[in-house]
Symmetry: C2
Subunit: 239 residues, 2 copies
DNA sequence: AACGCTCTGTGCGCTACCGAACGGTCGGGA
DNA sequence: TCCCGACCGTTCGGTAGCGCACAGAGCGTT
């Protein structure tokens, strides 16, 4: 819940035409997502899809040897569970709560029904999916070419964009898991960023102090993704 | 064209119900794609979509400094131009011909019309898109965690799967561009693979000598992607 | 036959990141 | 108040990949 006591809206839901939203509304449940909880397991069927309100969910691939890497991140701009309407039902990656908060839960059955109707909801979800695809593509590029520090900046900005506050609860260990690097690498990079006055952190609590400077230090990947999200999903959407 | 003189079929087109295929057929043109040609530029509108027959197209992101990385690869199992029906029209990445050959070209207008009808074609294209998403995700993971040699194996297998022969025309320089690594890195990795009798190459011509051994040396990423394609797009498709 | 271009091989110093180990510090619970 | 566990900092040797520079090798051209 936001400070107002009203849940932060989910932008996708908010962008739906009123009559569709009203049809879905009775089936939407606001549920809490706890830090570290698994929303979906790799290869598992999905009884629900989730529209994060003030929570953030990471799409994470975990390899056989336990190493992991974040594929993409979903906040109040999107939904978790695109495989449902894309037709595959499952995916090889997990969905893990990266920042605790609430999400609107909708039964897969209802979601699929509405999608099959076609029309605005279908087009909205597909545009969101394309934005997500861009994020994945850019993650691949970033993984190939950019330093841990740059990737950390990107990750912090992506997270901050999806939160109502500029403070995130996240240990360096967990960030390392998301980025698929060593915990020490994060310690070092985060140390530099704190040194430079961009962030402040202590014991699993990170505050973004100077967002502008952070945006100057990040690689181009962040802007590419953000621009594409803005293009595909403008805030005041006209379908 | 294949040896028979008949173009190698595109699997997506082949999977369409006959009446839909017949509707599209008059609008399909078999066109040659030349090595290195750009099918789409980043951010550019798309007058056509392409269903590769015996050609291969790479989705490539090129950064401001000129460095590049392959996002995914499209052969006769898919189509180039998903952004058209996903709603965004454009993407931030380029599409470059990685292996010369033919492709069926279809006007974007017709494609979009058919997609909007809904039904089997829509579902088929969305399932393909999900498979493509898996490939991108796995590329991100592979870029993070695996050696140049492993990635080269993955790349060779992905290419071989999409070609009628086991010989590919491709300089090490170009492979390096796709993988986003140095040319020398490819030279070294390819040297090891040749040493071990898995491949043979000379002056821009690579032959896969022992596919089984190649599959033993590749990282898990290849199998994950292949399995997902087979699951989502079985050869004898029943929509 | 000689040239020239493209492609491949190799060597060298450099840096970022890894793996492992360990010490310090903060904060909450008994 | 003390202690323990979670979190963070640091160090050190090892290595994969980078950037650069140049040397050979194959192949077509004139």
């Amino acid at each position: 819940m936001g400070v107002s006591g009203v849940p932060s809206p989910n932008k996708l839901l908010a962008a739906l035409p009123p009559e569709i939203y009203e049809r879905l509304q009775p089936h939407l449940d606001l549920v809490p997502l706890e830090l570290g909880a698994s929303v979906y397991e790799a290869g598992g069927k999905q009884p629900y899809v989730y529209f994060p309100a003030d929570s953030i969910v990471s799409l994470l691939y975990v390899m056989k040897d336990g190493a992991s890497a974040e594929i993409a991140v979903v906040g109040n701009e999107g939904l978790v569970g695109i495989a449902l309407f894309m037709g595959g039902e499952t995916t090889p990656s997990r969905a893990v709560v990266q920042s605790a908060g609430d999400a609107f839960r909708l039964s897969s059955k209802i979601m699929k029904q509405e999608f099959e109707y076609g029309g605005p909801l279908l087009h909205l979800l597909l545009r969101y999916t394309q934005a997500l695809i861009t994020q994945m593509a850019q993650t691949a590029v970033c993984n190939r070419h950019h330093s841990v520090e740059q990737q950390l900046c990107r990750w912090l900005l992506l997270s901050a964009d999806r939160l109502p506050t500029n403070e995130l609860t996240m240990t360096q260990e967990l960030i390392a898991n998301m980025l698929g690097v060593r915990r020490e690498g994060v310690t070092e990079a985060a140390g530099k960023l704190q040194e430079a006055g961009l962030i402040h952190y202590s014991r699993g609590r990170i505050t973004i102090v100077n967002r502008l400077k952070l945006e100057k230090r990040v690689c181009e990947c962040y802007a590419v993704v953000k621009k594409e999200f803005d293009r595909l999903l403008p805030d005041q959407i006209a379908i």
